[in-house]
Amino acid sequence: MKRGIPVRLEGLSKRFGRVEAVKRLDLEIGAGELVAFLGPSGCGKTTTLLMIAGIYRPTTGAVYFGDRRVDPLHPRDRDVGMVFQSYALYPHLTLFENIAFPLRLKKVPDAEVRARVQKTADLLGIGHILERKPAQVSGGQQQRAALARALVKEPQVLLLDEPLSNLDAQIRLSARAEIRRLQQELGVTAILVTHDQAEALAMADRVAVFSMGELQQYDTPEVLYHRPKNTFVAGFVGSPPMNLIEGTFTGDGFRSGELRIPIPGAPTGKGWLGVRPEHLALGEGGHPARVLVVEPLGREVLVVAEVAGVRLQVLLPEDRRPEPGGQVGVVFPERATLHFFDETGRRIGPE
């Protein structure tokens, strides 16, 4: 199969009436890269994907596939494959004819259609149920058929709109790994739209985090996790979410109400202190706190504790389980694992 090509979005925006769904978006996706568009519903990620597919026309801006400007082109002239959240299989056609559909439209000779459909279906493990209709197979098999239909024409760009969110939790994990494996094997450039941050972090080379139609941060999963650019990304990426405490930086520490945390080389001024639940610990000499909620998560325990009027989520190993209502000490981590944000939510440290 042919290699994927780079995708470039330049000043892309989309307006629906008075609502600006996507605001002047600039983004580059490398050839063969898998990029996730991550964000809550209504953030503009699906709108952006539909503009790349050619379903929506951008209000302003341009879409490039390699050096070719594609935004004035009809979807059929763009060489993209797409998987929809509902799979959008044609209910009156068998899985075989569903997968063959793009090839039939291109008037590919019948023998070649048969060979290519069978090959793609075998690759996805649905080669034995091709004579069935979509309603007669499971959700996971429908999802594979939809993926096969997107891949059978060997597109340069693969667009995935929440392809896993209608699957059972167990199948979802294996489908994640399988899509990633296929994408890397075929070398196709892929864009995955999802609201599930774990899915984005697990599958993508790079993640674009969206909020309110604007790109918040575009980085690798590691950078997103360790160096979130603002409080939105900090709160959205990671589960359970980062604790964000509003207060004042004093140069040598952070103050929020009665809570005082010494931090050497802290900035100054009003802002937010961020700390991930997995970086907090309970122990002697910590800030005195009262345990409000203990939530066993299997391998770990999530503890909600109140420290000087501030509620914090703390993630502990399963064997360290405090009693609800008990008194504990909350230990803050080293400076390097803390996050400093200014009043507007922008990251100001540490580097």
């Binding site: 509902s86 299989l89 044609y90 559909f101 439209l105 309603a135």
Partner: protein, 297 residues
Amino acid sequence: MRRYLTPFLFLSPATLLILLFFFTPVVATILLSFTDLSTTTFQNPSWVGLKNYQDLLADPFLKKIFLNTAKYVALTLAFNVGMGLLLALLTSLVPERYGDPFRALWLLPRILPPVVYVFIWQGLLAEAPMGLVSDLLGVSKNWLVAAPWTAVILANGFVGASFGMLIFTSAIRAIPRELFYAAAVDGATTWQTVRKVVLPLLAWPILFVTAYQTLSLLTSFEYILLLTDGGPGFYTTEVWSLRAYHLALSNYFGNVEFGLGAAMAAVLVVIGVVVSLFYLKIFNFKALVSEPKIEVY
């Protein structure tokens, strides 16, 4: 016994209505068709067995009326379903702010009383200074006399097409938007999307409209009655149901033959049942209705 009581109670209103307004008239018509009830025998009708049916078969015009009926039903049906489908597709493809008003406009004839509607057609088809069609074609004629079949079919069709238009439009709207997106990404043109995705998904509504309209056209005659009354000339546009009406209720000289008219009506009921069974067979009705109409993922 109790098990059946509740379902029976739920079914009883509909059952009662069907018994009262369908079975009773059918039975009464069949009974009537075995008598010689007419204006002259009104006081003491007598049983004549199958004589009315023998008379029908002996009627030299029966064949013409049968062919007229077939022609009327087939052509009007084709127009109704085809035009309904075309209107539904066209008004669904353009933005809603154009499609919706257009459909509302096309529904106007349906809410007009038939007499008023037919008056308009008669005006349109009249001779030159009055008739719009004569004006437009530059040939002054009474088109109702010159082309009675076209007039009958179009007058019926313009009303009839709106039924299919409504059913097909709602069926098109029920198709998930993503299916259209998928077709576009897969490389389909608008026409290919219509032919390969939309039309197959409309199979059931098309069956329904075709079957329903066949039956209603077989028995409807009010527009023909008002437009041409079976003319012009001798039985030119006289169809089966109109002939039954003429025989039983509106003959010249007040000589109405209830028995003979009832016999014609009874034959029409049989034709209707046969046609229904035929539709259920060719459209594989059972398979169609047993398939889920709504995909639940």
